[in-house]
Subunit: 190 residues, 2 copies
């Protein structure tokens, strides 16, 4: 069976805890939905923050909502190097011992002692698709993305299965640009 | 036979024609060697330029010497998008109809009508290695780079064979970061 999945590129973004959202944007502030994302309930917000590293700061970083238990910043390796931060490649949520940075919002700023990661490439699947494709949560697979000029086969792709997911592969901007992704592109799980 | 080749990451850079070098740096200016590169006779220079696109400018872009017949600017897709330029993926030297930009030097500036490209991934080989490995100039191959966490298999890799080359695969910073390359890394031609 053809295991064909939509490939989406995640640009740099931040998830905020309720407390950090209030510190950065003011007491009682609620996130403003700019655009719903492919994963059910997830959205890009109108709110932006600046992430500061030892070398440089990077403004205009989007927040993805809703709020989460822990604040987490996801940059590409290109971004992290530009602002002078060495960060580990991690799955979302796995922030223990990850990199530190400062986040500045319109009302206040916070120092995040851990929470800055380079996102590990992954595929979101519904339980139904995972079963149909013979895949399990946390399984590591290889995905071929046959873009013209810059075709890539991604090793080390983590399968994530959850009832509230939609089927989609997520890579970051370095990975998307390395494959020269543009428009609607599909990957094939090998 | 194992076809193992050193993988090197090329950061954004410019090659200048003799006339453009003089316009940017002054009449009679000679490039200053900062560091010899792996390809025989090629060197990174002390001189830097600023490349300007419609959206933003990017300062501190290294010049690679010696001078060449035509001025050519090589950016990553991340770089090109940041400054607002859409450029094609091309082999070095194949600049016909490629993107335009402005280059600013300490003495003058030029408008390059074509010459800005995204470098196509390639492998430099000596004729001896190419013969031993059963490969020909312009052949397109697949190369596996087994970095931890972000292993990649690169399709669309062009083989280039010339007597004055040294064996090395060249990818850009997006491709290097997509594979989380760090330190000395080898690829395997499949």
């Amino acid at each position: 069976m053809e295991r064909k999945v939509l490939v989406e590129v995640s640009a740099r973004h931040a998830h905020l805890s309720p407390a950090d959202l209030e510190t950065l944007f003011g007491k009682g502030h609620q996130l403003t939905v700019k655009k719903m994302l492919s994963q059910p309930g997830q959205f890009a917000c109108e709110e932006k923050v600046t992430v500061v590293g030892p070398k440089k700061e990077m403004a205009g970083i989007s927040i993805l909502g809703p709020v989460r238990k822990d604040t987490q910043i996801e940059l590409s390796l290109t971004d992290a190097r530009a602002i002078g931060i060495t960060a580990p490649i991690r799955e979302s949520g796995d922030i223990k011992g990850s990199a530190s940075c400062t986040i500045i919002g319109p009302v206040g700023q916070i120092v995040v002692s851990e929470g800055l990661i380079i996102a590990k490439r992954h595929v979101h699947l519904t339980p139904a698709t995972a079963e149909a494709w013979g895949l399990k949560d946390k399984q590591v697979v290889t995905v071929k993305v046959g873009t013209p000029e810059r075709g890539l086969i991604f090793d080390d792709v983590v399968i994530r299965v959850r009832a509230d997911f939609a089927d989609a592969m997520h890579i970051d901007t370095d990975e998307g640009n390395a494959a020269a992704l543009s428009g609607v592109v599909y990957g094939f799980i090998l």
